[in-house]
Symmetry: C2
Subunit: 449 residues, 2 copies
């Protein structure tokens, strides 16, 4: 079951805040999961949310801080002293603490770090801050359970009980050598069912999937999904175990990536949500609208240049929308398949066989569409030469759109740019402009004007 926020509940909270009834607020909120409290705080205004935040105790508020929407968290952090922030961070796992510190200003970062009580914890956090946020290093936490390959089961279990106190989820116990290099793993089940004098080296599994500290976050997600892992160890260039990534962080990566790709495909330039303000939404959407407008003004020139034929071959002009729409659709389809193929690994890089396949699809679709168009035009308007010109240019435009839609994302990907930019308004607008140029070019050739 899930806790559902109701309007009445929110009103009740607002009332309690006004009356400064801290005790009742605690009663209502202390038993809720931190993710639910965060959802509630997101529904209140900043002042009310901050008030409640200060009322609840520190063990809970740290986790709540993580789940808040970015702007509310930023607001609350700006109202806390370095010492207060450090108190929150002392309660969090290293990867979460690092994520929050990374959002602070440079000077604030330093202050907060100096206020951290647990020195080991502080060292770990500082370590993690070195990594890019889109890499395994940026996702990992230092909390993990590891044992030396030379120990026996008894020593292992003792060490484990000590280490496991700080580790919220224990999946595998990692086995390292004297230089801390990752050698393998053990499962809790194995440990519990083996006699205590046995040496670890006899029972551990020496095959363990790991990632390098520089691996891209989406790459880590792909590997964890492929092997159905719930946690994956992270090693540095020397093979030493430096951290661990858990599946909950990867689920967030997968969702965020999907949302980002989807927004790029819709021509939205920043990460926005339905709950953002009118100004933020407009700011994120205007760029592509204006870019599209400018490119289509070029289209207006091409049309102006051909205006002599509007009278003579009037059907030429009335099929321009059909042409643009078809070119746009084909381009978007082609690029979507490439982008997805690159994302899930089924398409490696420029693949001649895939490109020929796409040309094949374009030729079949193009032939069908052109023939239907020719048939339709001949029946409706006769003017068979014009109909032929229109159909042939349609076929050429379709081939062109499919080619562009396939090559552009591959080109972007090769140059380390997110290929998802190539889907959406970018491709539809580019195909519009090239389509119109090709259309009138081919028509001119065939009709000879």
């Amino acid at each position: 079951m899930e806790f559902k926020i109701s309007k009445e509940f929110v009103k009740e909270l607002e009332q309690l805040i006004q009356n400064k009834d801290d005790q009742q607020l605690e009663v209502l909120l202390n038993d809720l999961h931190h993710a639910d409290v965060a959802e509630i705080l997101d529904e209140l205004d900043f002042d009310e949310a901050t008030y409640i935040f200060k009322v609840l105790d520190s063990e809970k508020t740290a986790e709540i801080l993580l789940e808040l929407e970015d702007d509310l968290r930023e607001n609350i952090l700006s109202r806390l002293s370095a010492k207060e922030i450090a108190e929150e961070l002392d309660e969090l796992d290293t990867d979460d603490a690092a994520d929050i510190i990374a959002e602070l200003s440079q000077s604030m970062k330093q202050e907060v770090i100096s206020e951290l009580i647990d020195v080991e914890h502080a060292k770990d956090i500082v370590d993690l801050l070195r990594y890019d946020e889109d890499t395994a290093g940026g996702l990992m936490g230092k909390e993990l359970v590891k044992v030396n390959e030379n120990w026996n089961v008894l020593t292992c279990v003792k060490e484990m009980r000590a280490q496991a106190e700080n580790v919220s989820r224990v999946h595998s116990i990692y086995v390292v050598d004297d230089e801390n290099r990752l050698k393998g793993r053990l499962s809790l089940k194995d440990l519990l069912t083996t006699s205590t004098k046995t040496h670890i080296s006899e029972i551990y599994i020496n095959k363990v999937t790991f990632v390098n500290v520089d691996a891209e976050d989406v790459e880590v997600a792909r590997i964890m999904q492929k092997y159905d892992l719930e946690a994956i160890p992270v090693v540095d260039a020397m093979g030493r175990l430096v951290g661990r990534i858990t599946i909950d962080d990867i689920v967030d990566v997968i969702r965020d990536e999907a949302e980002k790709d989807y927004q790029l495909a819709a021509g939205i330039t920043q990460d926005i949500e339905a709950s953002d303000s009118i100004l933020e939404l407009t700011k994120a959407r205007l760029p592509w609208l204006l870019i599209g407008m400018i490119i289509e003004i070029v289209a207006s020139f091409v049309l102006k240049g051909n205006e002599g034929v509007f009278q003579k071959y009037s059907t030429l002009i009335i099929f321009v929308p059909l042409l643009s729409a078809t070119a746009g659709n084909i381009g978007v389809q082609a690029s979507a398949i490439v982008v997805q193929g690159l994302a899930n690994g089924s398409l490696k890089e420029f693949s001649r066989s895939y490109f020929s396949k796409e040309i094949g699809v374009a030729m079949i679709s193009g032939s069908i569409i052109s023939l239907l168009l020719l048939g339709y035009h001949s029946i409706m308007y006769q003017q068979y030469l014009v109909g032929l010109a229109i159909s042939i240019s349609m076929a050429v435009v379709i081939l062109f759109a499919a080619t562009l839609g396939t090559l552009v994302p591959l080109f972007l990907h090769k140059n380390k740019i997110d290929p998802a930019i190539a889907t959406g308004p970018f491709i539809t607008t580019a195909n519009d402009i090239f389509g119109i140029i090709i259309y009138f070019g081919v028509a001119k050739m065939i009709l000879g004007y």
Copy 2:
């Protein structure tokens, strides 16, 4: 590290298959993870893949079967007898076994079920087959560890060791009453660190997030991501514990949902991949191309109807592409935000405040774009009245496109249709046709022809 398939390796395997060198094949493949072997088999042709499948031993092949691409799995299953399939299924967890049986024909299903050796296992699988594949029931497996609330820790641990043999991943131990109703949960850590005489009822956590057997798969995914869960218990209408869903299945749900939405936004009607054949790719893409074509033929009628003005007001026609493109872009942006909002829960249903926000964005963007257009037209072509007509219709079209882009997904969602259909070619084409009608309508009113 991840196993990487190289062309040479594949060639080597093909050679060994030709020479029927079963022993060497086993040597090369037996140590690989089943996900890697599945990837390799996907690179071979059907006959070669089936050959290797029969060479490897059954414990491994069952897991490999799960990871294969749909068409290869279908092919291999069609070549196995009911008894052979049942042998594979005896090795799998109930949820995976149920997924595979569901793919078989009705008669084959019955045969295979009758050949299953483990009767308990068979009963569980048959149970699971009752549920829709897009629900919690369709995702869950029967493997879980549960204890009665009236037991003490000693009994618990004994029971656990017995049950845990069949459970590959133990996260929480579920606590049920005498009627098998879910009461709470225990962690392994808690069990190991509590004295054996303690009663379970004193130590278990009575707050446990669960889902109903009918819950939608994307809803389960949302809840598990929100609460950072790695497994979630599933209950029936009476609150009885009937199964468990693990995070790896949810990760697949999230990815599949993202891929599906993305493909819908690109106007692709079936689940296809870069590796599919030309015919499959064409079949999935042609529908929307043809639908788009038919709708744009309607657009050609509107244009034909207005062809009298092409000569007199030539600038009217040259801005039609700009109009369509802008209307399309705005519509796609609007619908993408709504679809995402509905998916991640930040937008509940039709929300008057959100709709007003969208109208606000449309009005601001519309004003900016119309004014820019008016300025540009006045400078380039003078004909100020025509310029005014164009700008005003542009503003109206933008407002209309934003409204359509917002309302259509909400309407689809309310009627239990996937709102993601509303993004992509559906919205761009609809906006094209309405845009052109509105455009000439407004122009006609202002210019009075």
